[in-house]
């Protein structure tokens, strides 16, 4: 059986981990197979979970989150016959598949939509833990905003510097209120479970929000402009489907191969005008074809559209 290990935010964070879970569930539903899973409670458990699953014969073992890199680096060599998949991080080992996403591309698209939807010309970004990965989201977003409206202002805040930042709805809510008071009327949350508080407050205060990772449009129908889809579910699904003899190595999921995108469904259809959709789809096509290049913060630790 394959196994899936969630990161600290927990399986039901409505975001990253939940997306991973949905992928696994889809696989189970379709194949009738079963899989093992565990929600971690602490850093120290990572290695234990990896080893336990590997020893119990789980194959492949998928872990959602960059924070597993160190533990996996230790463990992978001890279980050469087990295949591992790590999401959001690159671990160089013969039996590891590393899946990374072009989050900046998806964020670019929702950034454009935010700028279009904003009446005040000020939009917000609320990140989770302040790490390069989240700056990558913010930077792509800001580039998209600027592309649609060069005069727009982007307010970016991070929730914290530790993993607790993924799971702090109160802080998400307070930061949202602060951004609203600074004029923001669209807020993009790339903050895992913290985003629940952001979306909630945005809905309470009657402004628009943008979800992340999973399709979060349904959380507050008519209040969530869209969601930046990061198809972690696909990554998990594929890993599970490939099974024990999956190809290892490095895999990039971007706009070109449907790894990222924006969500459009009944919940947000009234919010997305046809011209907005046309504009975004055009940009998406250009990015996919390589014609438009969105700057990746992690490539050089800098952002042309936003300063941190």
């Amino acid at each position: 059986d394959p196994a899936l290990i969630f990161d600290l935010g927990g399986k039901f964070d409505k975001s990253f981990n939940e997306a991973a879970f949905m992928g696994a569930k889809r696989w189970a539903d379709e194949t009738g197979g079963s899989f093992r899973e565990i929600e971690l409670q602490s850093e120290a458990q990572r290695e234990q979970a990896l080893r336990r699953f590997a020893e119990a014969g789980s194959n492949p073992i998928v872990m959602a989150g960059f924070a597993f890199a160190d533990a996996l680096g230790q463990v992978a060599a001890d279980y050469p016959d087990t295949k591992f998949t790590i999401i959001d991080m690159v671990v160089d080992a013969p039996n590891v598949r590393s899946v990374v996403f072009n989050e900046h591309e998806g964020s670019y698209l929702v950034g454009m939509m935010a700028a279009e939807a904003s009446k005040s010309g000020t939009v917000g970004f609320i990140g989770g833990m302040d790490i390069p990965l989240i700056r990558k989201f913010a930077c792509g977003y800001a580039q998209g905003v600027m592309a649609a409206n060069p005069d727009a202002k982007v307010i970016a805040n991070m929730t914290g510097t530790t993993p607790a930042a993924w799971n702090d709805p109160v802080k998400g809510s307070e930061l949202t209120k602060a951004q609203i008071s600074q004029g923001a009327d669209v807020v993009y949350a790339a903050a895992g479970g913290t985003g629940v508080g952001v979306l909630q407050t945005a809905a309470d205060e009657d402004i628009l929000s943008i979800g992340v990772d999973s399709n979060q449009n349904h959380l507050h129908p008519g209040k969530v402009l869209t969601s930046m889809m990061k198809r972690v579910d696909n990554a998990v699904y594929e890993a599970f489907s490939d099974g024990a003899d999956m190809e290892t190595g490095f895999s990039v999921m971007g706009l070109a191969n449907g790894g990222v995108g924006y969500a459009l469904d009944d919940n947000n259809a009234p919010l997305v005008s046809d011209e907005m959709k046309a504009m975004v789809d055009a940009a998406a096509a250009k990015i996919a074809s390589g014609e438009l290049k969105v700057h990746d913060y992690m490539s050089d630790d800098s952002c042309p559209a936003l300063s941190f």
Partner: protein, 335 residues
């Protein structure tokens, strides 16, 4: 800093101070009666969970509140049985209650909702909404004007800003918490019950020989403590947030205790202390690193400030805080 920004920080101060204030008053009743309670945290957590759970299931936030209070009362009762009836160590009992709540909430939540120890997110009716005071600019005005509320408030005059942003628009529990302050003062210092309660925390033998039941009084105090912690927890889960997540009290019970010591066990001072701690939290939440001239205060300092402040206070730099004399000691008649 802009005036409106200050108002908004104060507004968030009020929101964040509310659970502290309720818990602090809870501790005040308990400790004034001589029962130390480091289990405020656990009671709040349990109440937060059960109120969210019941509100989620029934869709009725008032039922949620009642359930939260009931669960907190159960834990308060446990603390009472351990420390009053069986004269156990009050600190240990409090530690145990904190553990119990931390574990039970997740355990029940997982069993009940299968969402990794959370409750489902609460919808409108499952939450305490903001109460719009008369003449305040609120969401209804915004809807009527078809413009965002923040714009309307930004345009209003200073007085209206204070009134609409700071005073109006809080959930009913916030107003209840602040009303509880004069009420607590009045009960403690103007009623028979209050006199006896204070006496039992100072010298239970005096109360006992005056023909009043020490056990009864202490249980009453512990029950009031449970009630207030219950409201605090329900506020966290159903007003401040929209649902329960594990460990959502995040040390508020301990800060409330610190505030209680800071306040030297007096109701009005408790309000002041809680507002101060609320302000520190609001500032830490809103601003990451604070720049003061050439030095940057890292966010961790802001996060730790309430605790550092407590230690400083305890060290006696603002006068010695003398706890109720019989505090922490079980009342034992027989040597």
């Amino acid at each position: 800093m802009e005036f409106l920004t200050i108002i908004q920080v104060l507004d968030s101060t009020v929101r964040l101070a509310t659970p502290l204030l309720l818990a602090c008053l809870a501790g005040l009743f308990s400790e004034r009666a001589g029962i130390f309670d480091i289990g405020l945290e656990g009671k709040m957590l349990m109440a937060a969970f059960l109120s969210a759970a019941v509100a989620a299931v029934t869709g009725n936030v008032w039922l949620g509140l009642l359930a939260g209070i009931a669960s907190s009362l159960v834990l308060a009762g446990l603390h009472g049985v351990a420390s009053i009836t069986f004269r156990g160590n009050q600190l240990i009992s409090g530690v145990a209650i904190n553990f119990l709540a931390a574990g039970m909430t997740v355990l029940i939540a997982q069993d009940w909702f299968q969402q990794g120890g959370r409750t489902p997110s609460l919808l409108r009716e499952g939450r305490f909404g903001g109460l719009e005071l008369p003449f305040a600019i609120g969401p209804s005005d915004a809807e009527a004007a078809g413009r965002p509320l923040s714009e309307l408030i930004a345009e209003a005059g200073m007085f209206q800003q204070v009134y609409s942003e700071l005073l109006s628009g809080h959930s009913i529990l916030v107003y209840a918490a602040f009303l509880a302050v004069p009420l607590t003062w009045w009960v403690l210092f103007r009623t028979r019950f209050g006199l006896r309660l204070r006496a039992v925390g100072e010298n239970p033998a005096a109360v006992d020989t005056a023909g009043v039941s020490v056990v009864g009084l202490r249980f009453a105090a512990v029950a009031i403590c449970g009630l207030l912690c219950g409201i605090a927890g329900a506020y966290l889960a159903t007003a401040l947030q929209a649902g329960f997540v594990k460990d959502m009290t995040a040390g508020r019970g301990f800060i409330a205790l610190a505030a209680l010591i800071f306040a030297k066990w007096r109701p009005w001072h408790a309000m002041g202390a809680c507002l101060l701690f609320g302000l520190l939290q609001a500032v830490a939440l809103r601003f990451q690193n604070i720049e003061l001239g050439s030095v940057t205060i890292p966010v961790q300092v802001m996060d730790a400030l309430p605790y550092i402040l407590t230690v400083v206070i305890l060290a006696g730099f603002v006068g010695k805080a003398i706890p109720p004399r019989a505090g922490g000691e079980p009342y034992v008649k027989e040597r």
